[in-house]
């Protein structure tokens, strides 16, 4: 009775001793301190506190503004922004018009800033790479009239580069997050779609983030084998 009538004004909290399996939807703000497994889709501000454990099973976690201090497994989409605070641990892809990763925030996944088709596609599934590939084939196909072997060569040439960069980055995730954090203010106006038109160097520079999550179990061995011959 005491708590009755005290708290109906829209502020929603999933407490730290609470587990929800299923779908959470709504228009208001939501603060998560406990565990959520399933679907999480709110239009307001979503705050995942350091005790929060969220596992998204289908699609993406979606909110207006997302602030993360806890653990998230799954893709995250912010219609206005995403900020990974210190202590955040995210395995999944991020997409929002602006994304911030503060020192001490850990991420393993793609990052797509801007309201680009790429970032939208990211949240729906593993699309990716199409702008990079079109950029590369265009650059190669212009001088050489034989696109098929040229593409094969470029694809092979990319493997060691990708391996070198990803093997460096996969085990030094703080370095990545710091680099992304450093780039973040300038990166705000959507660099992703412009990369496709850039030179081959920019396409290669752009390679590490898309390649990283492709490193699944056994992928390193596969690349080593391919590299060896």
């Amino acid at each position: 009775m005491a708590s009755h009538s005290s708290s109906s004004n829209g502020a929603s909290v999933i407490g730290r001793a609470t587990v929800i399996r299923g779908t959470i939807r709504g228009d208001g703000d939501l603060q998560v301190e406990g565990r959520v497994e399933g679907v999480l889709d709110v239009s307001g501000e979503l705050t995942l506190e350091d005790s929060a454990r969220v596992r998204i099973e289908d699609g993406a976690l979606s909110a207006g503004r997302v602030a993360i201090r806890g653990a998230v497994s799954g893709n995250v989409r912010g219609t206005s922004s995403i900020v990974l605070e210190q202590g955040a641990r995210v395995v999944g892809d991020l997409s929002a018009p602006t994304i911030g990763i503060r020192p001490g925030g850990l991420l393993r996944g793609h990052v797509a800033t801007g309201d680009s088709p790429v970032s939208q596609a990211l949240t729906r599934g593993r699309v990716e790479r199409t702008p990079a590939r079109t950029g590369r084939t265009a650059a190669v196909a212009a001088p050489a009239p034989t696109p098929a072997p040229a593409r094969g060569r470029s694809a092979r040439a990319e493997v060691p580069a990708a391996r070198a960069s990803s093997s460096g980055s996969a085990y030094a995730s703080p370095a990545i997050t710091q680099r992304t954090a450093a780039e973040e203010p300038e990166a705000a106006p959507a660099p992703a779609p412009t990369r496709g038109r850039g030179s081959r160097e920019t396409a290669r520079e752009a390679a590490p983030p898309p390649v990283m999550p492709a490193l699944r179990k056994g992928a390193r061995g596969q690349m080593k084998r391919k590299n060896g011959k």
Binding site: M1, R16, T18
Partner: protein
Amino acid sequence: MATVIGQDITIEGEITADEAVVVAGTVRGKLSVDGPVTIEAGAVVEADVGASTLSVGGTLTGNVTASERVDLLAGGRLVGDVKAARLTIADGAVFKGNVDMEG
């Protein structure tokens, strides 16, 4: 800190908690709480509810098991069976279901 499900939030699925839960929004599925549950006026709950104490000011459809007590407040609406040691039904509440107070 408790769990509060605000007016504009809808949860479909299973909620398990070891702390107080206040529902002002919509819950469908199952609500298992080791603690007090408050269903506020305007809230809609279509779920089986387990709690230590339950206070219903909104609409609850589902069976209720409470280890201590159930309070059905004026304006509250409960359709389902109630199993609880103590039950109060306020004047003006709506209730349809069986009551078992022998637990």
